[in-house]
Symmetry: C2
DNA sequence: CGGCATGTTGAAACGTTTCAACGAGAGTGG
DNA sequence: CCACTCTCGTTGAAACGTTTCAACATGCCG
């Protein structure tokens, strides 16, 4: 099922601004928990893996045996509902970690949006690291805690914001995470359908809102997958619901 | 600020069906992590505490020093938005645990809805327990993981369900958690405003939907805080969006 | 080039919010 | 006991935003 290839050289991180490149020889489980590289001892069964566009990283109801860290690309975490619709729970960008689960089976599905490079770490290694290293333990909890906080942000967005606010907030988050200055284009890592499914809208509504933002000269859309912020202040105002 | 009283006898758990009563002498941090009582050794600085109706348990931006387990009553976990609105992130019922946070400060507020009895456990004790006991470590992760899963359920609800589905799902969850048979009344632990803020609706919409369910004889509402399910199958159908 | 997935736009139907008015119940004090 | 007040819940009508269904446009790839 899983489409795993060990890449020759995982050193280039084109989309990853907050994450320093890690030499292949130092890619270990320990790195999984670190923001910056260091020279801690190597631990077995860790690896960088690649997934092609649209491949499933894990599925709902699968056994949960690994967790991951995004090196390059974007991953969508979603649930399929009984009515066939899909809700995207989170979108993971470079430096985000995901896949910790304490139940035996996955409660959601993770898929590569474009081509993706991940760092993978076995849950068994984590348990071992947890036993040995207090700071890893802390990191684990912090990771889950951060996921929870993000889910709560998402709840607030879906519970109390209109479509326009949701789109604007999301664009701002993306621009920020890519360190993109005003006036320069940044990548939209997802298509319109994913955008809509993440924001709890239909694809048509998402489209219309983007068109409206374009025609009010708040953003420009040089290509389907790129956005330029033209008026940051107005975008921020729209994100918080003013006018 | 905090309204803490050590109760004489925390043995009666009127609202708590899934939770076995714990003798006062055995209320320890270890109990915090257990589903059923046992005779593990007592550990210091744990306590049952009470909060009166509407009192704050902790506030957004407070230092995070304790976590809690509901013994009796209901707690709402919410965020106040910049526009003054409020989103309720979760409602904790007996046996639910909450308040684990790895950042220094709270990202949300917890308040007693009615009068509440809680078990409290210091984060420092948790760190200690984490170091000593692998199974506590596992429980901690499981607790956070369960919170995340609940938050994701909430996201799905807000992202893809209509008002009626949200209300029906919530009523079903409540009836289930109280082990209430069809035809008997169960408590609605929250008022209409809280119901609306949890489900991402206005109070008027929540009201109208309840009235509609009442007039279609799916539920009956003997008092403001009580519900009787008259037609379980139809309530379940409505919860999953079938007509 | 055709074929297919993806994105865009329009108009009507639908659900939710808003604003406003009114009702029901609990607690207080005369 | 009643009248008063305050909070909480209920209902109506118009305004608003979103969805639905349909048609059409764009880009990509064999």
């Amino acid at each position: 099922m899983l489409q795993i290839t060990i890449p020759r050289m995982p050193a280039e991180h084109a989309f990853c601004s907050t994450h320093s490149p890690i030499p292949a020889s130092l890619v270990t489980d320990s790195h999984f928990f670190q923001y910056t590289s260091s020279n801690s001892p190597a631990i077995a069964d860790s690896a960088t893996i690649q997934f092609e566009r649209k491949k499933t990283i894990y599925s709902q109801h699968d056994a949960a045996r690994h967790c991951y860290k995004v090196v390059k690309g974007a991953v969508r975490n979603s649930r399929i509902l009984t009515d066939g619709h899909r809700q995207i729970l989170d979108i993971f960008l470079p430096a985000d970690r995901f896949g910790i689960e304490t139940g035996d089976t996955r409660s959601s599905t993770a898929e590569a949006i474009g081509d993706v490079v991940l760092l993978r770490c076995a849950h068994t290694s984590i348990t071992r690291l947890n036993a040995d290293q207090p700071e890893t333990r802390q990191q684990m909890l912090a990771m889950l805690s951060r996921s929870l906080c993000r889910a709560q942000d998402h709840i607030v967005m879906l519970g109390h914001q209109r479509g326009e606010q949701r789109i604007c907030s999301f664009l701002l988050r993306l621009a920020k995470s890519q360190g993109c200055p005003v006036g320069e284009a940044f990548d939209l890592p997802v298509g319109r359908q994913d955008l809509a499914d993440y924001l709890g809208l239909t694809i048509e509504t998402a489209c219309r809102i983007l068109s409206r933002l374009k025609s009010s000269r708040i953003i420009s859309v040089p290509s389907r997958r790129q956005i330029i912020i033209l008026a940051l202040a107005r975008l921020e105002a729209a994100a918080s619901g003013n006018i």
